[in-house]
């Protein structure tokens, strides 16, 4: 039984790293290629989530619960960020009738 346990292969840590890098890069590409402010926000959420998953994977890998507590804090931070950011977007929309980021490049209207 013990030998069977030792031969079982779980997912290598490398594959978690590659998966999270891919999703992080997709988030970066989303920030770069879209002009809709809400979709840019969603890309930022994607990046935060990929980091969360990688932190959890490392936490399990090292058998240390600290990483998962850190993920918890990142989630609280993301909630605060989304609340303030969406309020800002709503206010911008009221002022300019658009959420195109190019309109905002002047910052003064």
């Amino acid at each position: 039984m013990e030998s069977l346990f030792n031969t079982v292969k779980a997912v290598p840590l490398n594959h978690y790293i590659i998966l999270c890098s891919i999703i992080f890069s997709i988030g970066v590409i989303g920030v770069l290629i879209r002009r809709n402010a809400i979709i840019i926000f969603m890309s930022i959420e994607l990046m935060l989530n990929s980091v969360n998953l990688l932190l959890t994977a490392f936490s399990v890998y090292h058998g240390d619960a600290t990483g998962q507590v850190f993920v918890f804090f990142i989630m609280a931070l993301a909630a605060a960020e989304v609340a303030v950011g969406l309020a800002i977007i709503v206010m911008i929309y009221r002022n300019t009738n658009s959420i195109d980021t190019n309109v905002l490049s002047r910052l003064k209207w």
């Binding site: 999703i23 770069l32 290629i33 399990v60 989630m75 609280a76 909630a79 195109d100």
Partner: protein
Amino acid sequence: MPDYCRHQVFVNINMNTFYFIAFLSIFFSILVITAKNPVHSILYLVLTFFTFTIQYILLNAQFLAVVNFIVYMGAILVLFLYTLMLINLNKDSEPVKSNIVKIAGVLGGGCLLVVLVGCLKQVGVADPVLLKDPNLGLVQNLGKVLFNEFLLPFEISSLLLLSAMVGAVLLATKEPKSV
């Protein structure tokens, strides 16, 4: 011994499911940034977060899976949808960026991906992610860590959430500027 057998089954399921779920999350996250309609984009983001929840369950991080399910899929994405409803986007409200900017963005992101993977390959951690302690991600264990070592950051994060709430209310209830 029952615990042990459960762990065995868990590892086997993990091995078979991880790659499928990973493929799904990459697929849906690409759809998030390419969908034309912002509502579809948000719905794809919900699916992406659902695949992340499954990944957390596979890692036996049960507390994080539940929090991810409730906070992200339940609260944050509903907030996105409501904001989109308030904003009332028209079809033509989002001008598309020029193709050159798009290609440059994809190239930049691809370069970032290559650099990240190249750097992390050097770390050379090909060891399997095995759960050594089955109680690691359970609420009991995490609560003990959270309220012993991380008590001060926990309280400060409550302050952060309170100030974010006040800020959001202040920003969103401001009267539209009279032109």
